[in-house]
């Protein structure tokens, strides 16, 4: 079983929600980044999602985009991320997940990328601009190395498509809470419930809800329909304001 699933299920077995914080690699700067990761890990999160920078991040909202483009300008690249993770292999309790866009991975070389992920202790990958139809070649490269390609589904994903995604999916399923880009929102649409229930039914791996999440109170309404929460923009803003990740995690623990 993929470590991400294991970690999330550890949480749910304890009656807690799996927690999946997102930070762009190298944010807010190279050293601080690893400190934030350690704090998050110490807070007991299930999966740490690390953003790989891309010049044209079409699925990102303004907060994530700005933070990630700053890291890109600072010279953060896939080599740095994978090398540094490799150095720290085994130091994190949480499972590690890389998130990004296809082109940098494609230029890196998907086979090399898959191998290097394994070597770095990365167990999952989210590629925002790969739908089902184009995912075959990537899955083929990742699977031998035990890296899961995490499916993203959302309010407009039909049950049929969910089923196709569910076939040999592993790790967890990322349920996107809104039709839109990442970013904090005050409230989440009611109709999520129905779709979440559908996803719960279709997938036999944990369901994580992401996009627009800033506080656990937003999620009480979805109890039983989701297993984990992903939060990015809220965490980034919090850090940008000079606060620590540990602090941010308090209401979640």
């Amino acid at each position: 079983m993929n470590p991400m699933q294991i970690k999330i299920e550890e949480a749910t077995k304890q009656g807690k929600m799996g927690l999946i914080p997102y930070l762009p690699a190298g944010f807010p700067n190279r050293e601080q980044f690893w400190k934030e990761l350690e704090e998050l890990d110490a807070a007991g999160v299930s999966v740490i999602e690390i953003g790989m920078p891309f010049s044209d991040p079409v699925a990102d909202g303004p907060v994530v985009e700005k933070a990630a483009l700053k890291c890109l300008a600072d010279g953060i690249n896939l080599t740095w991320i994978l090398d540094e993770l490799k150095k720290r292999k085994g130091q994190f309790n949480a499972a590690l997940l890389l998130m990004g866009y296809l082109n940098p991975v494609y230029q890196y070389g998907v086979d090399k990328f898959a191998a290097d992920c394994e070597a770095a202790g990365v167990s999952g990958l989210i590629i925002a601009d790969i739908p089902l139809e184009e995912s075959g070649f990537l899955k083929k490269a990742l699977t031998p190395h035990g890296v899961s390609l995490v499916p993203l589904v959302g309010l407009n994903t039909s049950k049929e498509r969910m089923k196709l995604y569910a076939e040999n999916a592993s790790g967890f399923c990322y349920f996107v809470s809104v039709l839109g880009t990442t970013g904090q929102r005050e409230s989440l649409p009611e109709r999520i419930k129905e779709k979440l229930a559908e996803a719960k039914e279709v997938f036999d791996i944990p369901i994580a809800l992401g996009f627009g999440i800033k506080h656990p109170d937003q999620l009480t309404q979805f109890e039983g329909l989701m297993d984990a929460a992903v939060f990015g923009s809220a965490l980034i803003t919090h850090i940008e304001n000079g606060n620590s990740s540990a602090e941010f995690m308090e209401p979640w623990i």
């Binding site: 891309f54 699925a59 890109l72 082109n103 739908p131 039709l179 839109g180």
Partner: protein, 387 residues
């Protein structure tokens, strides 16, 4: 060939959340597009609103000056001044029949934005246009036209503030508003089915031009067919019906920017590498690490680091020749066509015209049919600043 692919290029590299509207669009292409209602209305609109067929014009003075036969396919005479309207009316009508209320578009030169605003006004829809802040300044006349027609203009402040970034933002907006909104993509690029859909609406250019040329040349075909390549819509429209004519050389002209070493340009087919951007696998200007490079051309409509996948394919198979023209050569062509024939071309189209001027030696005695994709009124401000 895999669905949505042209050889190795094309595909649908977009977030899952954009798949439903793309699938909806693919379905509309299979059901609505071939319907008699659509075809009749569209054909009528092209004739009665756009003014099609657009004529072909022989250029007696430049032909004499250069020692070749220069012909122009006059897309600049279309309503709103460029080939873009063929596509926006097609997509607009399709969207209307799909039950959408809003036409969303990105624009570089503003011609596609204007053409989308026209389609929206005509079809009683709303237009929302994303345009890079840099382009808003350099193509001010088109911004004025869009606003006048009631379009909402969104200034894009991210990245290079040009076409590429406008596409990013428009994709984000589409993601959010997909239920009411059709993304009226402006060129034969982006995720499947856009490259095919846009080609479908632009192939009228070569359908007409091929017949018109033959009618005026005793059934002969031209030796060379030329078009500028930004995203590639006017070029694919101009090439399509000539592709089976093996004797006809097809030349796509990319923008070399200033042509100075180390400066940005817009010629991914010339020296780009294979990669993925805006939903498609194609040739891109990018770093070795897959970061997209900023592009530059004096012609805002060519100022794009990618290119439609079918052109990448035509290049790979050798059917299309792709060359570059720099800013200065384009300006020279702009002035030459204005002064010698009384036709002010768009700076984009000037790149295609420049091909004939710069390659006149090898073209001696040949007949060259160029797609004059748009008129240059919008560009006088840019030229004013330079000249």
């Amino acid at each position: 060939m895999k669905k949505g692919y042209f050889g190795d290029f094309g595909g649908q590299f977009i977030p899952e959340l954009l798949m439903p509207p793309l699938i909806e669009l693919e379905e509309a292409m299979e059901t609505i597009l071939p319907s008699e209602e659509f075809q009749t209305r569209f054909t009528n609109m092209l004739k009665e609103n756009v003014g099609r067929p657009s004529t072909i014009t022989y250029c007696p003075n430049i032909s004499k000056d250069l020692g070749l036969d220069l012909w122009l396919k006059r897309e600049d005479l279309n309503h709103s001044g460029a080939h873009k309207i063929n596509n926006t009316l097609g997509q607009g009508l399709l969207a209307k029949m799909m039950g959408k209320d809003v036409l969303l578009a990105e624009t570089g030169a503003g011609m596609h934005g204007v053409a989308t605003a026209v389609a929206a006004a005509m079809l009683d829809m709303k237009a929302v246009i994303y345009m890079g802040a840099t382009d808003i300044v350099r193509q001010a006349p088109n911004v004025g036209r869009m606003k006048l027609m009631g379009a909402e203009i969104v200034s894009v402040e991210s990245g290079t503030k040009t076409l590429k970034d406008a596409i990013n933002e428009a994709l984000r907006r589409w993601l959010a508003d997909q239920e009411t909104t059709h993304y009226c993509f402006g060129t034969a690029a982006g995720p499947h089915p856009f490259p095919t859909l846009v080609r479908e609406f632009q192939q009228i250019i070569s359908k007409e031009a091929r017949q018109q040329y033959m009618d005026r040349n005793d059934g002969d075909l031209p030796d060379v067919v030329v078009a500028c390549v930004g995203g590639g819509s006017n070029a694919i429209g101009m090439f399509h019906h000539f592709i089976p004519d093996e004797s006809v050389k097809l030349v796509g002209v990319e923008a070399a920017g200033t042509g100075e070493p180390g400066c940005d340009d817009s010629a991914p087919l010339d020296h780009g590498t294979e990669g993925i951007l805006h939903g498609m696998k194609t040739q891109l200007l990018q770093t070795e690490e897959g970061q997209i490079l900023p592009s530059h051309s004096i012609a805002p409509g060519l100022d794009y680091p990618g290119v439609g996948p079918e052109h990448a394919h035509l290049q790979a198979t050798g059917r299309g020749d792709y060359v570059t023209i720099n800013d200065a050569q384009a300006i020279n062509a702009f002035k030459t066509l204005s002064q010698r024939e009384g036709i002010i071309p768009a700076l984009e189209s000037s790149h295609a015209v420049a091909y004939a001027i710069e390659h006149k030696e090898e073209l001696q005695g040949k007949s060259v049919l160029i797609c004059l994709s748009g008129r240059g009124d919008k560009d006088l401000g840019i030229l004013d600043q330079i000249l």
